[in-house]
Amino acid sequence: MRPTLHYDAVVVGAGVAGLTAAARLAEGGAKVCVLAKGVGSTHLAAGTVDVLGYDPERVESPAEALPELVAARPDHPYALVGVDAIGAALGWFAERVERGPQPGYRYVGNLDRNQLLPTAVGAARPSALVPETMAAGDLRAAEPVCAVGLRPLREFHASLCAANIARSGVEARAVEVPLDADRPDENALAIARRFEDPAVRRAFADRLASHLREGERVALPAVLGVRDPHAAWSELESRLGRRVFEIPTLPPSVPGIRVFDALRAAVRAAGGRIVMGAEVVGADRDGDRVTALRAHTAGRATTYGARWVVLATGGFASGALTLGSDWVVRERVLGLPVRGVPGAGEPRFGPDYFGDQPLARAGIAVDSAQRAEGLENVLVAGAALPGAEPWREGSGEGISLASGHRAAELVRAEEGLAAAA
């Protein structure tokens, strides 16, 4: 007896693209299972939804810039999913966060106008949809900024942040406020857990208030709680009597973990299963269809029968794509054909680390319906798609959300599942 589990759709990967596809499919009534080797990139990301920040100049309005991008770059994931799919996916995401496990926490913004938020080093970063707890950081507003460093958090240097904000034309200065810590350094997550406690917030607000000047807004590293950030943030705003905003820090990213929690809750609320630790190691095929995926279970492999597979496995960073010493790019989960790899004699890498890196545009070869080349029932979403350089474009979450959402819509259309939930 070799038992097997059966699903309408198996989603591989628990990042933004995978969890979005899974939640959306489950909401349509599909029996869904997410298989993930581990936690996805959410915990490392800023928690904002960046759709298009640079093209290559800074983008003011993604709504205006996207049609041009799509026309000029038919190989780009946005050309694949279409501009309309992006707005639909963002709307869906904002709704799921509002219904999610963090009471009252919501995202603000839209595709018409990017918000310009300071990073941990005070650089301006354009983002379309941002947590309410970050929105007051928009650097297009003139209101002066007081950046607050927290003593045990060594990953946020308030003076560096303030100095760079000032260079962008907004008056800024830094203060340091010690927290009562039982160790010499703590990461953002540890501090965020302490900020869940109203007594900690009260003591902190009391300590900070005397440092603040008339008319200043307060910049804090993103530590205002994981489970109930809305309460922490609104309480600080009301106690301090001014706008307060979070700045995302180095990993572990507290706002990123909130995104994971919200999307996971959406999958679970719709009845989807999530299996962590289950690395997919192979597939059974029947002609141009994948019939089952084999994944690591302790002691053996378990087969997950699937009518549909959504691959949201990520790119080079997650290990889903590898570059061998033979200069061959391989897709490691199913051994699928890749596209976007620079040809012989073409440059693969550029000298500037954050500049153009042609090889990074490699991804799984797909058709216009996100189907992996040669496979009828395998759709690809997120960073596994070819054609983008998300860190240059400021487009990572936009691509993941839109392509994950659309992959689910495509499957739902094929299966005749309920259209909208």
């Binding site: 038992p3 990461n187 997550l189 572990p252 962590m276 630790g277 289950a278 302790a298 002691g299 053996r300």
Partner: protein, 406 residues
């Protein structure tokens, strides 16, 4: 230690990109500065561990061995396994205290205690005696110790005749069932038989997990191989092995082979491939349309906690899907990570407070859920939960047993 396997574990640390995802999930480092976190003592400190030189980094002793770090790592680094080996080395160097040698042997304690269960149970609930035990050997006076049943599961199993069926399973009951919760064993057998299995219950002993987690690797190897020898002949005949003690089945499936370096033992390999957590097996049965779903309503609100070791099977939470079949039963999934006990960790005088702090999040979620009962797949976790919340706790199989009206 198989060199190849050691290299596989140790080699996996090269995949660490220092992303800190394990640190976000580590239940211990999030509550105490004594443990600096899985990344720090694992992939980072491992580079300073030289085979024939003494250990220089001792904080790994505060790792509870829950294994969550390995489970969440997106790069496949065997963090918990690397740390288990490091902890073993520290223990070898410092010596393993008498306490750890005792609490790591549930079969010995069970065998000695069962004939005098009433006295033993009363003694372990006597405050002055517990204070004395704490002073003498370092078992924390408040740590949750289970009640001996006063009878063994084996004594029931010897008399029990499982009706002959085509499909046979071997039941691996573990020490918790044997000495403390024989009724859960009886219910597990009943649920399996109800679903068309003939249940064989060979004579069996401890899987060696508590020995392993206390750094007593040589003894752990002896125990687990003895168990594998007892189970392998049935597995060779085609039977599946199924257990309700989720950490013990994980030991058979994966941990003994990876951590104790027994990857090449043919009996253990066979047993490992054919061992199932009971909920895992029943869910697969259900998926094939072969699980009986005629159930009577169980009007109750239950909070479900998936223990760390259950999550280490990489099977998701099959208990939730099974409990969803029970009419009337309202199940609330808890997402707090760990109850803190980690087998024997929370029993120790120097670890008890840490274990309770680890579990605080879970205990708060349980209280907030307003559930009257907590379902959980691991016995030591259930005892910890009962100790901390004063709420009763049950294995998911007990709820199925009730729903079937057996």
């Amino acid at each position: 230690m198989t060199e190849v396997l050691h290299e596989l574990l140790r080699g996996s640390l090269d995949h660490c990109v220092k992303c800190t995802i394990c640190e976000t999930a580590c239940p211990v480092s999030n509550v105490t500065p004594l443990f600096p976190g899985p990344k720090y003592v694992g992939p980072q400190a491992e580079r300073y561990r030289v085979d024939d030189e003494p250990a220089v980094e001792w904080s790994v002793d505060y790792c509870s061995g829950c294994g969550i770090c390995t489970q969440v790592c997106p790069q496949g680094v065997k963090i918990a396994e690397i740390n288990a080996l490091a902890r073993h080395k520290v223990k070898q160097q410092r010596g393993v205290p008498l306490r750890d040698r005792l609490i790591a042997r549930p079969t010995v304690l069970g065998r000695l205690g069962t004939p005098v269960a009433r006295l033993a149970n009363a003694s372990l609930r006597s405050r002055p005696l517990r204070a004395g035990i704490e002073r003498a050997i370092g078992v924390h006076r408040h740590a949750p110790v289970p009640k001996l049943a006063g009878r063994t599961f084996r004594s029931w199993a010897r008399r029990h005749q499982s009706p002959p069926r085509v499909r046979r399973v071997v039941y691996f009951h573990g020490c918790g069932t044997e000495y403390y919760e024989p009724d859960i064993g009886e219910k597990t057998v009943a649920v399996l038989e109800h679903n068309g299995f003939q249940v064989e219950i060979p004579k069996q002993g401890c899987c060696g997990l508590p020995l392993q987690s206390n750094g007593l690797f040589d003894d752990a190897r002896k125990y687990v191989l003895r168990l594998a020898r007892a189970l392998a002949p049935r597995a060779r005949d085609g039977a599946l092995i199924v257990g309700n003690a989720t950490s013990c089945t994980l030991m058979l499936k994966r941990e003994a082979r990876e951590i104790l370096g027994l990857a090449d033992d043919p009996d253990l390999k066979l047993v490992s491939e054919r061992t199932y957590d009971v909920c895992e097996l029943l869910l697969e049965l259900h998926d094939r349309g072969e699980l009986k779903t005629e159930m009577r309503p169980v009007e109750e609100t239950v909070a479900y906690h998936a223990p760390c070791q259950q999550q280490g099977h990489w099977i998701g939470k099959p208990a939730l899907d099974l409990l969803a079949l029970v009419p009337g039963l309202e199940v609330q999934e808890l997402d707090a990570r760990c109850c803190g006990i980690a087998g024997t960790y929370g029993l120790k005088r120097d670890k008890y407070e840490i274990a309770m702090a680890v579990g605080a999040d879970l205990f708060r979620q349980i209280r907030d859920s307003r559930a009257g009962l907590v379902a959980c797949d691991s016995e030591t976790c259930r005892w910890q939960i009962e100790h901390a919340t004063r709420l009763p706790s049950a294995h998911p199989i007990e709820l199925l047993h009730r729903a079937y009206g057996l």
